[in-house]
């Protein structure tokens, strides 16, 4: 059974315009000792703070801005589903800008994502993300960051950007395009050098093909800030310098590759 609860501490976002990002409760919070009322900070904490910072800057530029990140905390298993009050009180304790809570279990969390118009699903669980992706929800795996940056850094994997469309576009691909277009629009609100949001492209192909990826993204309204064309070089040394908060490709991708 799915239940959705609004966080009355936080002003609700415009449902039509906001970019809905769902993060699992297991990613946001670290389960501490059973006695504690409040959870510890989880892997997704720096990410949430970065999302909040972007919202703050967007509102500074335009107090009537409606294209904001709309953060939803979702439980994806029955055990967490039972902990609803602790999740809510922990969220309030840290003053997180979370507008809604979705309490669902393994069986129905994807349905919950769809019902809530989630445009990006972030999880630390390597099974959950592909499950959601298969049903057309853009997903990415979150990993612990060593030195997370304050700036929200979103990385696109460019190898899929130019793949020829063989047949009807898979739902996950459409979801990725929609998300990236909105993210691109958000990026345009800020100047080139002083932005709380950075868009990074990484490709395992060479420069020539990556040129196409840059152009394609541009045509979707995404002006990439940084680009790394590896031409077969290993990805992890570059990733450890770039330090993206998450990596997006067609549907599902992970940080540790």
């Amino acid at each position: 059974m799915v239940s959705t609860i609004q966080n009355t501490d936080v002003k609700q976002k415009d449902a039509d315009r906001a970019l809905v990002v769902a993060v699992t409760s297991r990613a946001v919070f670290e389960s501490g000792a059973d006695g504690d009322d409040v959870y510890g900070m989880g892997v997704a904490f720096p990410l949430l703070q970065a999302l909040q910072r972007v919202n703050k800057r967007l509102l500074e530029e335009n107090p009537a801005e409606s294209l904001l990140f709309d953060v939803v905390v979702i439980t994806t298993d029955s055990q967490q589903q039972q902990q609803s009050s602790r999740i809510i009180s922990s969220t309030r304790h840290y003053g997180l800008e979370v507008s809604r809570f979705c309490f669902s279990s393994e069986e129905d969390f994807v349905e919950s994502l769809q019902k809530n118009n989630v445009q990006l699903f972030l999880s630390t669980d390597s099974n959950e993300a592909p499950q959601a992706s298969q049903k057309g929800v853009l997903s990415a795996l979150l990993d612990r960051q060593e030195a997370p940056s304050e700036q929200l850094r979103v990385m696109f994997c460019g190898d899929d950007v130019n793949r020829p469309d063989a047949g009807p576009m898979p739902a996950s691909r459409q979801a990725a395009q929609n998300f990236s277009a909105q993210l691109g629009e958000m990026r345009q609100r800020f100047s080139m050098s002083d932005s709380p949001l950075r868009i990074v492209l990484v490709t395992s192909h060479g420069g020539r093909e990556s040129c196409g990826a840059l152009r394609t993204l541009r045509s979707h309204g995404v002006n990439v800030d940084e680009a790394y064309c590896l031409a077969g070089a290993p990805r992890s040394p570059i990733l450890s310098v770039v330090r993206p908060h998450f990596l997006l490709s067609d549907g599902f991708s992970g940080l540790e590759d």
Binding site: A227, G232, A233, P234, E256
Partner: protein
């Protein structure tokens, strides 16, 4: 300083790296082209060039300085399809490519090649014009880092860079402090250089060797220097920032020697030093020998100006630590690169420069 390329990458990274490599290989093989595939970074000699050294971007730079970042990027995007003119590192890159094609003929399966990487601070939108220009000249540059304003140092390390060339002396200094061979290039009008042989010329002290002897000259004078060098003739000098690059060149040279191509080797190295052969030269040659390194021509000038000699050599690049020599060489049409290392940075024409307080 030479630990940049370990022989074995960490076991945990192997499967991911191998997967990247295999995927890229499949992709490259599927392209109906005879363009060569870039080598694996850990075996290659990686040269990172900045956009302003590879191409002439003087006019564009002026727009950036006068009108700001956004106007500059907009200009570049507008002129995306106009190829840029060749820059000061262009002949060097072409010469590297020539060495690569010779190596590929002799060793078709080897990954021991030059790997040229574009390492630029530029915004990725400017990258389209850079890639178009690279394609226009048919340069084999496949790896790019467009950092959008961030420091390239982390990426230089990530690519196991053997040499970094830039117009920005601050970045070059930072690279040298991190143990990466680097030099600042200056624009010059040059005559046509050899298209069949890469020629690299090095100053000795504070470039190939440490600045220990140069300190003696600056602080105690020439006579003390001569005595010292004679006394320590058999003690090898400590290594300088470009020693590992010479070593990498030597490794590739030996691949030609192994196939009987010594007389026709497409790499030639030169030592151009103010030392004199009679008094202080021996220590230099013995040091090189102790390192197991060869240099093709060692030219001892005994203090004579380097300009005329370099004009005869016509190197694709000449490394020196003293701006005075760089300017002299440049005036005579030699492509020079300044290595900001050692005591030479504190002096100009023998006089101590007033140093501003170091930036925090």
């Amino acid at each position: 300083m030479c630990e940049v390329k370990p022989n074995n990458s960490a076991p945990t990274e192997d499967s991911g790296a191998e997967r990247d490599w295999a995927a890229a290989k499949v992709f490259f093989d599927s392209l109906k082209t005879n363009k060569p595939r870039p080598p694996k970074p850990q075996y290659a000699v990686t040269i990172a060039v900045s956009s302003r050294t590879l191409f002439d971007m003087v006019a564009e730079r002026k727009i950036y300085e006068d009108e700001g970042l956004e106007k500059y990027v907009a200009y570049q995007v507008e002129h995306e399809s106009d190829p840029l003119l060749p820059g000061v590192a262009f002949p060097f890159v072409k010469a590297l490519m020539n060495v690569n094609s010779r190596l590929r003929k002799l060793y078709p399966d080897s990954e021991e090649l030059f790997d040229i990487v574009l390492m630029t601070n530029n915004h990725a939108q400017v990258g389209v014009r850079l890639i178009n220009s690279i394609n226009h000249y048919d340069l084999t540059i496949e790896r790019f880092c467009m950092t959008g304003g961030k420091s390239p140092i982390g990426y230089l390390k990530a690519y196991m860079t053997n040499l970094y060339l830039s117009k920005d002396s601050e970045k070059v200094t930072e690279a040298i402090e991190e143990g990466i061979a680097a030099a600042t290039m200056f624009m010059t009008q040059t005559e046509t250089l050899s298209e069949t042989q890469l020629r690299v010329a090095f100053d000795g002290d504070a470039v190939l060797f440490s600045d220990e002897s140069e300190i003696i000259v600056k602080e105690h004078g020439l006579d003390t220097f001569f005595e010292h060098e004679k006394a320590f003739e058999n003690k090898p000098l400590a290594q300088g920032p470009l020693k590992c690059f010479l070593e990498a060149l030597g490794k590739l040279q030996r691949k030609f020697y192994a196939k009987n191509e010594r007389m026709n080797c497409p790499i030639r190295t030169y030592l151009v030093t103010a030392r004199s052969a009679a008094s202080s030269g021996a220590r230099v040659l013995k040091t090189l020998r102790s390192w197991g390194l060869e240099i093709d021509e060692a030219l001892f000038l005994a203090g004579a100006p380097k300009g005329p000699l370099l004009q005869k050599i016509k190197p694709h690049i000449y490394f020196d630590d003293q701006m005075f020599h760089i300017q002299g060489a440049n005036e005579m049409g030699t492509i020079s690169a300044h290595v900001p290392y050692g005591i030479g940075q504190k002096y100009h024409k023998g006089k101590l420069i007033e140093q501003p307080a170091k930036k925090e």
